[in-house]
């Protein structure tokens, strides 16, 4: 499946905007992703191994919090999007 990497996190993923992984669930997709790009791990997970609250994950257009969270089943044709909060203007 395809994972969309947002601009702020691309620097930890060899500057790629999408990454292909083989996975049956969202959790497998994420572990495939962090295996390929270990620097992403601390941006996605807390020290306790929980997904960070400011990182939202969407399977296609649906928030996984309203599906089966990380246990949500995925198809090869699905797209997983990481959507972190961004603040704006950057005037400084």
């Amino acid at each position: 499946m395809k994972i969309h990497i947002p601009t702020p996190l691309r620097q930890y993923a060899d500057k790629k905007d999408t990454i292909e992984v083989e996975a049956g669930t969202v959790a497998e997709a994420l572990s495939g992703l962090t295996a390929k790009h270990p620097d992403l791990r601390r941006h996605l997970y807390t020290d306790e191994g929980k997904l960070r609250a400011f990182v939202n994950l969407y399977l296609n257009d649906e928030d996984i919090r309203y599906l089966q969270k990380e246990n949500t089943k995925v198809q090869q044709t699905d797209t997983l999007s990481i959507v972190p909060s961004i603040a704006g203007g950057w005037s400084h």
Binding site: P6, T7, P8, Q11, Y12, D17, D39, R42, H43, R52, A53, F54, N56, Y58, D61, E62, D63, Y66, S81, V83, P84, S85, I86, A87, G88, G89, W90, S91, H92
Partner: protein
């Protein structure tokens, strides 16, 4: 013109000059006379007259929004002009509020302009918002984002949200009665160290134009009561790929702000909430520093100093101090390129990233490592003005 004290049956009437001015609105059924009168009666508050605020304030004024409030405390500088199109070169050094007011009045003298020369805060937000129908968030930092959201939820005003980073944007309409709020999407802000810092940021100049105009569009649709506003939908804009994607947002029943049992019942200290204390990260004050003048004289004396530049390669191209380049993000895996027996002076643009680098190197066992205080900016100010500031 209709005011809060007048009965709703008496709409804002248009003069002949206004009919002519808005004729291209009046002849389209989605606006018409009724819609234009709604626009004239509407009161919209723009938070910030910067990147997002520039296009949206210009378009809302041109469209005939009757009362516009602008909140800004900042001053126009040269780095704003690449995207903040409400300000011109001649405005550099003026208050953004004065500059924006001039342009709004020049575009449409019928706009009743309310100027708020202040930083939006927990002390003034509720009072400010009460006088307006719609709040448009054009701010650039997390504390103000959460402040605007919570104040919108508490006062029951829709929050037309836009946010940008480099060439990516987000747009939505939060805090309507039936829809989700910003905290339904992001209950917590990111911890300070994990968001890309100011110097790693940057923004494509057209992007706030694109996103700000979408915010203006949403504000006008809310006023007209027409179309499908972005309530419960997050629009993602990728200007580089020129792709627009839409994600579903749901109202979180457990949302601390707008859920069934809210815990946010008044405005809080948003800097503390976002983990920000003061302007600089604490790490910058806890590492050994060297002043630019001292570095200059020691280099001139031929001392063996290793200058380490921890900025990005594209920044090195703008200007450099002939240092050895290892971007901060690459430092952990490239640390073996450094010789811990030599004295290392780390620098970046302003001294924040290099302070993190110094902190990291000290923890990695480097003893003779110092941070160039104030970075290249201070070097340009105090040692060599031929080095450009950016």
């Amino acid at each position: 013109m209709a005011t809060i004290t007048q009965p709703k049956v008496e709409p804002a009437t248009l003069s002949n000059e206004e009919v002519l001015r808005y004729s291209r609105h009046l002849i389209m059924p989605e606006v018409g006379m009724e819609g234009q009168q709604k626009l004239k009666a509407a009161k919209v508050l723009c938070i910030g007259a910067g990147g997002l605020g520039s296009p949206l304030a210009l378009y809302l004024a041109a469209a005939g929004v009757g009362t516009m409030g602008v909140v800004d405390f900042d001053v126009v500088d040269y780095t704003n002009l690449q995207r903040q199109i409400i300000h011109t070169t001649a405005d550099v050094g003026r208050k953004k509020l004065d500059s924006a007011a001039d342009k709004i009045k020049a575009i449409n003298p019928y706009v009743q302009l309310r100027r708020f020369d202040t930083r939006l805060s927990s002390d003034n937000a509720l009072e400010l918002f009460r006088d307006f129908d719609i709040i448009v968030d054009g701010t650039d930092n997390f504390p103000t984002r959460y402040l605007v959201n919570d104040a919108c939820v508490l006062t029951g005003k829709p929050n037309v949200y836009g946010s940008i980073f480099r060439f990516e944007g987000q747009v939505s309409v939060f805090a309507t009665k039936e829809g989700p709020c910003y905290r339904c999407l992001y209950p917590e802000p990111p911890p300070p160290g994990l968001v890309p810092s100011c110097a790693e940021g940057g923004v494509l100049g057209i992007l706030p134009g694109l996103v700000g105009v979408m915010q203006a569009t949403e504000a006008i649709k809310l006023i007209l009561g027409k179309g499908e506003p972005l309530i419960g939908r997050l629009l993602l804009v990728d200007a580089l790929g020129m792709r627009f994607r839409e994600l579903k947002l749901r109202k979180n029943p457990e949302c601390p702000a707008c859920g069934a049992h809210p815990t946010v019942t008044k405005l809080i200290d948003y800097n503390e909430f976002c983990g920000i204390r003061g302007e600089e990260a604490p790490v910058t004050t806890n590492v050994p520093e060297i002043q630019p003048e001292e570095l200059k004289s020691r280099l001139d004396a031929g001392e063996d100093l290793f200058v380490l530049d921890v900025r990005e390669p594209h920044e090195y191209q703008i200007c450099n101090l002939n240092g050895y380049l290892i971007p901060l993000g690459d430092l952990p895996k490239r640390v073996n390129e450094l010789d811990s027996s030599r004295e290392i002076i780390a620098h970046c643009r302003s001294g924040v990233r290099s302070a993190k680098a110094v902190d990291f190197l000290r923890q990695a066992g480097f003893r003779k490592v110092k941070n160039l205080a104030g970075g290249i900016l201070a070097w340009s100010d105090k040692v060599d003005p031929s080095v450009p500031k950016y």
